[in-house]
C-alpha cells in the first residue's frame, strides 16, 4: 500500500496532518486526519475558584477566546444557580455578536474567498487574501480590515480586552455601557449590516454567478449526509448565546432538543487508537463508525448544521437570505459541505443585525448588571455556539466554589468525525488510478476540511506559522517515491 502524507514540516502550532493511503491500483484506500492535541486543561482548572475560569479559558484558544469566555461564564452562572439580569445578558450577547462579526469576516475573506474569488486550483502564490484583494480591489480590502477592527473594538470596550476578556462574573457582567458608548456601537453596527449584505452579494456574484463553482458545490465530492446540531431559541430560530441544543436527522426531522445540563444524555465520545482527539456522536444512535445516513451517530455542528437544525433566523434580512439559500439548494436539510460558506454569510448578516438590535435596545444601558449569589455552588453547564461548533463547559465545585472537576467539549471536536469523512470522500472523488496529484488537487482536498473552519489548537500565533504543506507518496516500506511541495 502506498502512502501520501500532507504534513506541516515546520511548526508551530497544532495544524493537522492528512495521510492518504493509496491502494495498489492507485485509488484511495484510507484517509486519516490527525491533529496534535493540547493536554491537561481540565486538570489546570482544578483547585481554582470557578469565577476565575472565564478569564483563564480565553487562553485556551487565541482564535475564539470570546466563545470560551461566554460558555465558561454561563457554566459559572449555573454553578451558582443564578440568572443574570436582562441588561447583563444583553451586554454579553452584544459582545458575542461582535465576536461573530469579526470571526466570520476573517474566515470569509481570508480563508474561503481565496478558493472561490481566486480559484480552487489557482497558483498558491495568489490564492490568498492578497489575491482576493487583487480581484475585488483595494477599497474592499481596506473595508474588510476596518469592519473587523471595529468589531474587535466593541469586544474590547465591553470585555475589557479583545482577547483576554474579563467581562463575565457569576450572575452578570463587570461593567455597563454609557449612552455615548451605546450611540457609537449603534453607528458601527449599522456599518456591519451594510458590510454583511455586501459580502453576501459578493458571494452571489462571484460564486453563484459561476457555473463551475456552483457545480463544485452541488455535484463535486463535497457532500456528507449526516445529522445536524445547533442551538435554537424558544421559536427554534438560530441563537448563538442561549437556548436549547436541537438535533435534526439527515431528513430534517427533529431527533431531540436538550438543555445544557442534559448534554451527557445525548452526546458521547468515541475513541480511535490513531487519534488523541475524541469523536463525539449521538448517544441515541450509538457509534456506528465513520458512516453517513439516518442510522449513523455522526453529526456536525457548523454554520450549515445550525441553519439545518433551526426553523429560521431571528432577524429579517438573515431570514430572507436563509430562505433564498434553501430555495436555491433544493430545500432542507442541505448536506453540501461547501454550502457552509454560504451559511456562514447568513450568520454574518444575523450577527450584524442582532448587534444593531441589541445596541438599540433601551435596556442595554441599564445599571442592574449582576444578580446576587445566594446559593451554595455545586455543578453547572454552559453552552454557546462557537463559530466552529457547539461549545460546552461543565464544572463541578466544592461548596466554596473551588473547581474539583471540569469537562470541555470544544466546537471543532464535534466535527472531528465529519471532517475525517469529508476528507476521505473528497480524496476518493478526486484521486483515481493514474490521477496526477497536483497542487490544485491538494488544495481541493484541503477545501473539504477548511469549510468547517476547524480549530484544533490554542497556540495559533504564527512565526512562521504558515501551513507549509508537503505531499509525500511512500511505498509499503516507507520509502518516498514521489513528493509534491507547495512553493
Amino acid at each position: 500500500m502506498k502512502r501520501i502524507t500532507i504534513d506541516p514540516i515546520t511548526r508551530l502550532e497544532g495544524h493537522g496532518k492528512i495521510e492518504i493511503f493509496l491502494k495498489d491500483d492507485g485509488g484511495v484506500g484510507n484517509v486519516y486526519f490527525q491533529v496534535p492535541e493540547l493536554r491537561g486543561f481540565e486538570q489546570f482548572c482544578v483547585g481554582r475558584p470557578v469565577e476565575e475560569l472565564s478569564q483563564i479559558v480565553t487562553k485556551i484558544c487565541g482564535v475564539c477566546p470570546g466563545c470560551h469566555h461566554m460558555s465558561s461564564g454561563k457554566a459559572a452562572d449555573a454553578v451558582y444557580g443564578v440568572t443574570p439580569p436582562p441588561t447583563a445578558r444583553k451586554l454579553r450577547e452584544l459582545f458575542y455578536m461582535a465576536h461573530y462579526v469579526h470571526s466570520h469576516i476573517a474566515h470569509f475573506y481570508a480563508l474561503a474567498a481565496p478558493d472561490f474569488v481566486v480559484g480552487p486550483t489557482a497558483d498558491p502564490a495568489v490564492r490568498n487574501i492578497l489575491g482576493v484583494i487583487e480581484k475585488v480591489g483595494i477599497p474592499i480590502g481596506a473595508e474588510v480590515i476596518k469592519q473587523r477592527r471595529l468589531a474587535q473594538e466593541i469586544q474590547a470596550l465591553l470585555g475589557g480586552h479583545q482577547t483576554h476578556v474579563v467581562m463575565n462574573v457569576p450572575g452578570g457582567v463587570r461593567k455597563g455601557l454609557t449612552p455615548e458608548q451605546r450611540d457609537s456601537i449603534v453607528k458601527t453596527s449599522e456599518g456591519f449590516v451594510d458590510f454583511a449584505k455586501f459580502s453576501m452579494n459578493l458571494f452571489k456574484d462571484v460564486v453563484l454567478g459561476n457555473k463551475d463553482y456552483v457545480n463544485i458545490i452541488l455535484n463535486g465530492p463535497y457532500s456528507l449526509k449526516i445529522h445536524s446540531m445547533g442551538l435554537v431559541d424558544e421559536n427554534n430560530h438560530v441563537n448563538f448565546y442561549d437556548g436549547k441544543v436541537r438535533v435534526v436527522d439527515t431528513e430534517g426531522q427533529e431527533l431531540f432538543k436538550y438543555a445544557p445540563h442534559e448534554y451527557l444524555n445525548y452526546v458521547a465520545e468515541h475513541v480511535e487508537p490513531w487519534s488523541y482527539l475524541k469523536f463525539p456522536y449521538l448517544k441515541t444512535k450509538g457509534w456506528k463508525g465513520f458512516v453517513e445516513g439516518k442510522d449513523s451517530g455522526v453529526y456536525h455542528a457548523t454554520p450549515l448544521s445550525r441553519l439545518n437544525a433551526a426553523d429560521g433566523m431571528a432577524t429579517p434580512v438573515a431570514q430572507q437570505e436563509y430562505e433564498f439559500m434553501y430555495k436555491t439548494l433544493g430545500g432542507k436539510p442541505v448536506h453540501n459541505t461547501l454550502a457552509m460558506h454560504w451559511a456562514r454569510l447568513v450568520e454574518l448578516i444575523y450577527s450584524a443585525e442582532h448587534c444593531l438590535e441589541l445596541a438599540k435596545d433601551p435596556e442595554i444601558i441599564g445599571t442592574d448588571l449582576r444578580a446576587p449569589l445566594d446559593k451554595i455552588p455545586t455543578e453547572g453547564v454552559g453552552i454557546v455556539e462557537a463559530q466552529r461548533g457547539t461549545l460546552t463547559h461543565h464544572y463541578w465545585t466544592d461548596p466554596k466554589g473551588i473547581v474539583t472537576k471540569a469537562n470541555i467539549i470544544v466546537g471543532t471536536t464535534n466535527n472531528h468525525a465529519p471532517i475525517c469523512m469529508s476528507i476521505k470522500k473528497t480524496a476518493e472523488g478526486l484521486i483515481k488510478k493514474d490521477t496526477k496529484i497536483t497542487e490544485g488537487i491538494l488544495n481541493m482536498v484541503e477545501m473539504s476540511f477548511r469549510a468547517y473552519d476547524p480549530c484544533f489548537s490554542c497556540a495559533t500565533h504564527s512565526l512562521p506559522g504558515q501551513m507549509r504543506m508537503e505531499l509525500v507518496i511512500k511505498d509499503s516500506q516507507g520509502k518516498i517515491i514521489r513528493s509534491v511541495k507547495r512553493k
Partner: protein
C-alpha cells in the same frame, strides 16, 4: 516621547514554553532602555498583528519556535526574508504574518520599515502549565540576556 520601536512577545503563557515571548516582555518591563520602546504581548498572529505593529518605525517579535533537531534555548535572529519562500502559503485560521505585512503595505498602512524576529527554540507547547520545561527554565537567564543585549545594541544604533 513617541515610541518608535515595538517589542512584541507572542505566545500563550499558560502553555509551558509557548509563553516564552510574553515572559520575556514582562521581564523587559523592569529594564530601562536608552530610547523609548513599547513592550506588548499578543497570543495570535495574522490580522491582529498587523493592527498592533502599524505606526512603529521598527518591530522586534519575540516568539517560540520548534525546528528539527533544534537545541532548546537557542535564539534565532530572523528577518522576513528568511520566510520569503513561505510567504504565500495559507494558515488555517488567519493569514500568516508575512501576508499580513504585505496586505498592510498594499492598503497603505504605516508598516514598520524594519522587522526582526527573535525566535526561541522551545521544548514543550502542548501541555497546559504556567511553568517552563526544565531545559528552558534552566536557560531562561541566558535567553533573556541574549534578547536584552540585542535590544540594547539595536536601540543604541537607532539613537
Amino acid at each position: 516621547m513617541v515610541h518608535s520601536v515595538l517589542v512584541l512577545g507572542i505566545g500563550n503563557d499558560i502553555l509551558t514554553d509557548d509563553g516564552i515571548g510574553p515572559r520575556i516582555i514582562h521581564q523587559l518591563e523592569k529594564e530601562a532602555f536608552p530610547s523609548p520602546v513599547a513592550l506588548k504581548t499578543a497570543t495570535v498572529g495574522g490580522l491582529d498583528i498587523l493592527e498592533m505593529i502599524t505606526g512603529y518605525r521598527e518591530v522586534v517579535f519575540v516568539d517560540a519556535i520548534k525546528t528539527r533537531d533544534g537545541v532548546p534555548g537557542t535564539v534565532y535572529h530572523l528577518t522576513p526574508d528568511n520566510f520569503r519562500e513561505t510567504l504565500h502559503l495559507s494558515n488555517l485560521h488567519d493569514i500568516n504574518f508575512l501576508n499580513a505585512i504585505e496586505l498592510g503595505r498594499k492598503l497603505h498602512f504605516d508598516i514598520p520599515e524594519t522587522i526582526h524576529i527573535l525566535a526561541v527554540e522551545i521544548v514543550e507547547d502542548r501541555v497546559f502549565s504556567e511553568s517552563f520545561s526544565p531545559p528552558i527554565r534552566k536557560k531562561f537567564p541566558e535567553i533573556y540576556n541574549e534578547i536584552k543585549n540585542f535590544l540594547t545594541t539595536r536601540l543604541q544604533e537607532i539613537d
